[in-house]
Symmetry: C2
């Protein structure tokens, strides 16, 4: 028997009932990371706190290494552009909330075995680059164009298939303005960090992260629908493994709250004192503008409308919301739920699918409100805070 | 029954046999993150790839928020220094490899339930700040001084104890020069990111991460040994819960290799083609300078000496090493093992302790070397790479 790729690459599977997170899922969780939820306080996520999901390895690209973007396929004038040539095009900066399509996966029962996100795979950045439509106009898209295929420099094997990471967009999305797709070379005013696609990545505002191809090296216009692994095998909403499934595209609405008070190290449960507790968070939807956020402090039995900060014209970025909670002693579960102008909202029961994609189940934050005025014998450290 | 902190804060425990990673461990793993191992290629870890471990929440400190560092306790002239006053002291920049004391914990059997690191909780940065010994000299340490206690702005509950994060150093370490402890205000030439202690943190070169107190707001000299939670309850090497234990201090030697070839998405197993495969990695020890790295390509049965790059005078930073491996088809396990000038090295069997600290068990990297010249029917994508 020879040694073949499938020996290193198992098929997709669901976890057994009560099966804990395995070593393989943990290896993904220790490399990739979410947004620590207290960082929802920032309008723009500071470097290193934005979520990261890398399928294979982060390619090593030396600072002075030349990089060329190929624009080819069904175009009249194929282009090969270095970074200086890209910077000669008009520059656009867009604030975008990016969320992993697998966010929420680890909350599902049964759990699809993959990157085990809870709710934290999100972040907001200012992306600067060239509108893709300008590059495609320069190249001249042929009238028979169907899809635009994006290839990254990241290479690996997945479910037995060796591949460069590739995703496509329909040509009308790639050349559209709502959203305006960017070939980005800067994040928050600086060069892209390695893990965010240095030196070039795609930004598709409003779409889940799988569309934002990192380490972008080729844009190819095709006259047939793209059938690559990440388009037709992965990132589909399926109930059964044999289903063709629906493609994962735009980000479903979600609200997250900054967990109030302070945490227990291990359980991450929150502790507050009785009284007025300010609650705040962010809400977003890639489908339509967010129009409302409701908050529950009783595990979803009743809901109150939060105050949503005014829209500031940044359609593709999250919006801040806030509310005050009068906390009384006891155990509470806090939740927030976003609704957008097309009526999309978040489910209270899990929207199960086999890949664990687009799981926008409402967040649940357990909070313990202590008795009395906050002095708590069990909470006193066994040492003085200052000698 | 009232609601008390212990309701949110369970005692330390060991996982049951075959117990997978639980929801609580996962919540830590998705917030905190390790160094993706391919980033061992960089001399200095790019922002966002350096490991992060935060006990409680990352404190929110606005850009223009004033910050004062108190230096007090058993000193003749207590100080209260703002950032400008700190910058008026002589400035030192040191390249330091920082590793979490819990690195390797999730490899243990039985597994201590806490942040579940495999091997990746490490990073190297250039830290700039004021030598602590200069601040203490300015304040005038009293002759009866024993410990120096550092208090961060991060607040939480841990094993039932509400606390600000606090750690101490013996006064001779705090005022010493090997290592020279820094009060750092810059990382890699820029302000500290929030998750690395903005605006001030301690840097104790050669010591595990728990000593490098982040969001530093107070330095207090004491005339009695400090007995705080993080000093006498957590971060001790114990076999049984009742042991007093030994304190966790300096970093034990470790070598890590950049996993060669390309990965499988899910298993993270590596795939290479037959032939000469360059291997490289980093090695460090906080105890003494690294003097050798050995590499095994047969699961630890035989070892070959790697070429260690010359020491460049940066005592507290990792050193690069490399070696060429002649890979033949089949399944292999690669390992690397560092030794320092005091003879400390890495064990092949787990050095178990109840907290899972200082676990410098050698890394094991499973690699599949494919048959033949690299063409592999199972590896061909079901689509053309370019239309």
């Amino acid at each position: 028997m020879g040694h073949r790729l499938v020996d290193a690459s198992a098929p997709a599977r669901l976890a057994a009932p009560d099966e804990g997170i395995g070593r393989d899922e943990l290896a993904l969780a220790t490399r990739n990371h979410g947004l620590p939820l207290e960082a929802l306080r920032y309008d723009v996520t500071p470097p290193g706190l934005h979520y990261v999901l890398t399928h294979y390895d982060i390619p090593y690209v030396a600072e002075d290494q030349p990089w060329h973007l190929i624009v080819g396929g069904r175009v009249r004038r194929p282009l090969e552009l270095d970074l200086a040539a890209l910077r000669a095009f008009p520059e656009v900066t867009t604030r975008v909330t990016l969320e992993c399509a697998g966010n929420g996966r680890a909350l599902l029962t049964p759990r699809p075995v993959s990157q085990p996100w809870l709710v934290e795979a999100v972040g907001t950045a200012e992306w600067t680059g060239v509108p893709l439509r300008l590059l495609l106009a320069e190249a001249g898209v042929e009238p028979d164009a169907v899809d635009v295929v994006f290839t990254g420099a990241d290479h690996g094997v997945e479910r037995g298939v060796e591949q460069d990471y590739q995703r496509s967009l329909p040509v009308d999305v790639a050349t559209g303005t709502e959203p305006e797709v960017l070939v980005a070379y800067a994040m928050n005013g600086g060069p892209l960090p390695p893990q965010h696609g240095h030196p070039l990545r795609l930004i598709v505002p409003g779409w889940y992260g799988m569309a934002h191809v990192k380490w972008l090296r080729e844009v190819a216009v095709t006259d047939v629908p793209f059938t690559g692994f990440q388009q037709t095998v992965a990132y589909r909403l399926r109930q059964d493994a044999g289903d063709e499934g629906e493609p994962v595209t735009r980000i479903d609405p979600r609200a997250l709250l900054v967990p109030p008070g302070f945490p227990d190290f291990m359980s991450r449960a929150r502790v507050v004192r009785p009284g007025q507790v300010p609650l705040e968070g962010r809400a977003w939807s890639g489908r339509a503008p967010v129009t409302g956020v409701e908050v529950s402090t009783d595990a979803g039995h009743t809901w109150r409308r939060a105050e949503l900060e005014p829209a500031d014209g940044r359609r593709w970025a999250w919006r801040r919301w806030h509310l005050t909670w009068d906390a009384s002693p006891g155990e509470h579960v806090l939740s927030a739920r976003a609704t957008d102008s097309e009526g999309h909202t978040q489910p209270l029961d899990q929207p199960w699918n086999r890949g664990g994609f687009a799981v926008n189940l409402v967040q649940r934050v357990p909070v313990l409100c202590l008795e009395g005025d906050g002095t708590d014998p069990a909470g006193q450290p066994a040492y003085a805070s200052r000698q």
